[in-house]
């Protein structure tokens, strides 16, 4: 049965819903363009969030953006756009240009950081971010600030000891943190059954002493509702929650992957029919929040913004070679 807008997330107004759709759409068009740029040899790497947008935007809109703290992972383009990253900034980052806000061209694309939005820098080794979110939540608790921390991760990466150590700690100390797992059934080529013996990642929560919920991550409103509840619990001092959003990665793992060796075209096609972007558009049309012309107009606008952002980044400068030398230590920052 289709989810209706009214059934869920009563805190969302029509404007919010349209902004959420816009963010998903913009993420999708940017992501698609990055694939093209990679195939044209104009960028060295891309890692895609196509298929994960509903989970990411649903989660982000459940936060107090700019107040809450976000420790993301590499698939989270749509989430970071929700928090204020601009298409131009994304374009700078994929090209390794000066002004890339995540790293000034030091990190591979999609290794996010956006200080102005409380998006914390993360690395490539998976699951290292989990304990950081817990430490941030510890800081929030110690200072009595009114914020929550959220950290995202793939299901395969929850096999890491680092993940268990972090979740265990947060549960012990009832810290205000949300562990969002974007479960797309694969860790590159390895299926979930080879990563864990439980059916849902959320089942792991029971053994660690925190609530775990599993939701359809292709349904933006379900994710919004689950993360909103988790955030309320965290703000009320009730501690952490594990939220598992079941999604599907509609592209290969990264620009270096070929997924034909490990999953059938039929499987991918089946999931493509459940594309979260189309699904949300259908919901909004159905509820008459958007007219078909408005959807078409938004799409044209998104494509135009992407064109403009790419042009901007192509004409932007690379970092000076001398910038490679810093900032190794905090003392170097004025020179950076």
């Amino acid at each position: 049965m289709a989810t209706t807008v009214e059934e869920h997330s009563t805190s969302l107004r029509k404007d919010d819903l349209i902004e959420m759709y816009w963010t998903m759409l913009l993420a999708r068009r940017l992501d698609e363009r990055a694939w093209v740029l990679h195939r044209q040899g104009r960028i060295a790497f891309h890692i895609s969030g196509i298929g994960h947008e509903a989970a990411q935007v649903g989660a982000a809109f459940a936060l107090r953006r700019g107040v809450d703290w976000v420790v993301p992972y590499y698939r989270d383009l749509a989430m970071i756009l929700s928090l204020g990253l601009t298409p131009r900034e994304f374009a700078l980052s994929i090209m390794g240009k000066k002004g890339d806000p995540s790293s000034g061209g030091r990190q591979m694309p999609s290794h996010w950081s956006l200080r102005r939005a409380n998006v914390v820098s993360h690395s490539a080794p998976v699951a290292t971010q989990t304990t950081h979110a817990v430490g941030i939540a510890l800081g929030i608790k110690m200072t009595g600030d009114d914020a929550v921390a959220i950290t995202s991760i793939g299901e395969g990466s929850t096999a890491q000891g680092e993940w268990y150590e972090g979740v265990n700690w947060a549960a012990i100390h009832h810290l205000p943190v949300i562990f969002l797992v974007e479960n797309n059934m694969y860790a590159i080529s390895v299926r979930q059954e080879q990563q864990m013996a439980v059916r849902h990642v959320a089942d792991k929560a029971a053994g660690l002493g925190l609530p775990g919920v599993s939701v359809d991550g292709m349904d933006i409103l379900k994710v919004h509702e689950a993360v909103s509840e988790a955030a309320s619990r965290a703000r009320a001092g009730e501690g952490p929650t594990l939220v598992e959003a079941k999604v599907y990665r509609l592209t290969p793992h990264s620009s270096d992957d070929d997924d034909r060796s490990y999953r059938s075209r039929e499987e991918v096609a089946e999931w493509r029919a459940r594309d979260p972007l189309d699904r949300f558009a259908a919901q909004l049309l159905d509820q008459r929040h958007l007219a078909p012309e408005a959807v078409a107009e938004m799409d044209a606008r998104a494509r135009q913004e992407v064109d403009e952002a790419i042009q901007f980044a192509e004409s932007a400068l690379y970092p000076e070679v001398s910038e490679g030398a810093y900032p190794v230590y905090a003392e170097d920052i004025p020179h950076a």
Binding site: R106, S123, T131, G139, T143, E162, N168, Y329, A336
Partner: protein
């Protein structure tokens, strides 16, 4: 001036920093009511409470990872690793995260944190309670590495480490915790800046470069060879990273001979780095080959007393190496 032990210097530093800055907190295994297995944090739980002196789960990676997160949020964690030997589970967080966050975010984020760990042999600790791990971290840009060898420096360096805006590892010579005593002024302690070595004994015949427990033995050995008329200059590095190159170079300029001593094993040890710097930058000042006295290249310190003694450089072995070099 009262005489205190090295571990008391560390305890005073933490006490004063906890009192000075409410963002400072301590986290580690048994640091709370137990006061740490060596009692470095004794009394601090009672004074500052469970919110600021936190008994962590028994999982070193999370001690460091949670510390990093708290530092990113603006706190000033002092993470205790119970023994340096148990720091390895946390290497991913120290090397891939703490050390790289400033650089990888182009300075948007910094990690002001301290990681303390007792290190070194000579206490019957066997392979897994005796290791020297400092060189691993000296290889990593983005980290600072501090090793005090006196109560005064232990206090002043740890206080500076807590105030430093970078991740700082403080390795504490556990054999010297109660053995090494020294005068430390009462009241709010002075800061000892990171990155400055100290000449702890003047001499003209040869220079000895050491740190931690080995520095203590080098002073004893220098006294012994002085009776034979050999005047040794002793350099206590105090901070290995960033290294005070100037202090080393000017001492070698004066003496022309150098012996480097550490209890970490020889190959790829910190002495190799110093030797390379001297070969490059002090070649014309040298009147003799650069000598290193270090632990042997076995996996770690054995337990049985005679085997442990065989492993550990001590005042006698150092004195012999000094005499040998002086005679060159």
């Amino acid at each position: 001036m009262p005489e205190i032990t090295l571990i008391e210097g560390l305890r005073q530093a933490m006490d004063e920093e906890l009192a000075r800055d409410e963002r400072v907190f301590i986290v580690g295994e048994d640091v709370g009511p137990r006061g740490g297995v060596f009692r470095a944090t004794q009394g601090l739980f009672e004074k500052y409470g469970a919110g600021r002196v936190i008994d962590s789960p028994l999982a070193e990676l999370s001690i460091v990872g949670v510390g990093i997160g708290a530092a990113l949020y603006g706190m000033r964690p002092i993470c205790e690793i119970q023994f340096a030997d148990f720091i390895y589970p946390a290497l991913n967080q120290i090397i891939n995260e703490a050390a790289k966050i400033c650089y990888r975010s182009a300075g948007e984020w910094t990690v002001p944190m301290v990681i303390r760990a007792p290190y070194g042999g000579g206490i019957g600790g066997g392979l897994y309670h005796s290791q020297s791990v400092e060189t691993l971290f000296c290889h990593v840009p983005g980290l600072k590495v501090v090793i005090p060898s006196t109560p005064y420096d232990a206090k002043g360096l740890l206080k500076s480490a807590v105030r430093d805006p970078n991740p700082v590892l403080v390795f504490e010579p556990k054999k010297g915790y109660r053995l090494i005593k020294g005068e430390v002024p009462e009241g709010e302690g002075e800061l000892v800046p990171l990155g400055q070595a100290r000449i702890t004994r003047q001499g003209s015949d040869l220079s000895v470069i050491a740190y931690g427990m080995m520095h203590y033995y080098c002073l004893q050995a220098a006294e012994a060879v002085a009776r034979d008329g050999i005047e040794v200059e002793v350099v206590d590095l105090r901070t290995l990273k960033p290294l005070d190159k100037q202090a080393i170079l000017s001492s070698i300029k004066k003496t022309g001979k150098v012996l480097i001593v550490h209890e970490d094993n020889l190959t790829g040890g910190f002495g190799a780095e110093i030797a390379a710097i001297l070969a490059d930058e002090a070649f014309t000042d040298l009147d003799a080959p650069i000598r290193r006295l270090a632990g042997p290249d076995v996996p770690a310190v054995p337990y049985s007393h005679p085997l442990q003694s065989w492993f550990m450089p001590d005042a006698e072995k150092i004195a012999a190496a000094m005499r040998d070099l002086a005679a060159y």
